[in-house]
């Protein structure tokens, strides 16, 4: 789940960026220190208790695991090169995720904070829009909904073209 600048490519191929168990955020953070990094940014995407005006009981995530792992590896590698990061970590949950639990954690470390912030946003945006991972919301009223879909194709007209937050400098 961790990609270092001096990683061995063969190691990367076997990395697993998905977890069916709760994410140990503190252990991940502890692994994100680097002597050349003056900034470490941690993002945790967590389950909210409301969505579409309804009370959420829990979420369940499904993934095409092989493709999702490959894609997250590529996203981390791309971020490492783009911002010259020291460390890039991402892990996404599968299965049932309760309220206030982390569904996804992204950690970036770099010499200065600007790169760590930008790279972190780039990684989470691309994972949300591109990785074959899906959320199903289960509500307290007993209903469920496959939700929060990437709707970019309605604007771009192409399922492979996305509108990313990290590209919008005003936000």
């Amino acid at each position: 789940m961790t990609v270092f600048t001096s990683y061995h490519p063969a190691v990367e191929d076997n990395e697993n960026y998905l977890s069916s168990l709760p994410i140990d955020i503190l252990a991940l953070l502890a692994s994100a220190h680097h002597p050349k990094a003056g900034a470490v940014v941690l993002f945790s995407g967590e389950t909210r208790n409301d969505s579409h005006g309804k009370e959420v009981a829990y979420l369940e995530y499904e993934a095409q695991e092989k493709m999702a792992n490959k894609m997250i590896a590529e996203i981390l590698k791309s971020a490492l090169e783009k911002w010259n990061l020291n460390i890039a970590i991402a892990i996404h949950r599968t299965g049932k995720v309760s309220i206030s639990e982390s569904a996804v954690v992204v950690i970036t470390a770099s010499a200065h904070r600007s790169e760590a912030y930008m790279a972190n946003r780039y990684i989470i945006d691309r994972i949300k829009h591109e990785a074959p991972i899906w959320k199903c919301e289960y509500f307290t009223d007993g209903t469920k909904e496959w939700g929060g879909n990437c709707n970019c194709q309605k604007i771009t007209g192409d399922p492979n073209k996305h509108i990313y937050e990290f590209e919008n400098k005003e936000k």
Partner: protein
């Protein structure tokens, strides 16, 4: 060939099923799937197709033993 679908697509098809017809391209496969379930047409345009774990375009030529995954829009995070 084997077809696997995910997330909301499981409301349209079984999670995993076989296609016995002679299919040569993703385009032809899409036509067969729409015949099986006409409602699939509404969501088809936003789905991506993958063959043997790689995304492919609609002209991609299929072989009889290919394993096909139909990937609806992502909703991770």
């Amino acid at each position: 060939m084997t077809i696997q679908v995910y997330a909301v697509l499981k409301d349209y098809f079984d999670k995993e099923f076989e296609i016995k017809e002679d299919v040569h391209s993703i385009n032809e496969l899409q036509e067969i799937l729409i015949k099986r379930n006409p409602a699939f047409k509404n969501i088809l345009a936003v789905c991506r197709f993958a063959v043997n774990d790689e995304f492919v375009d609609n002209r991609f030529e299929l072989k009889q033993n290919d394993s096909i995954h139909i990937i609806p829009p992502s909703s991770g995070g």
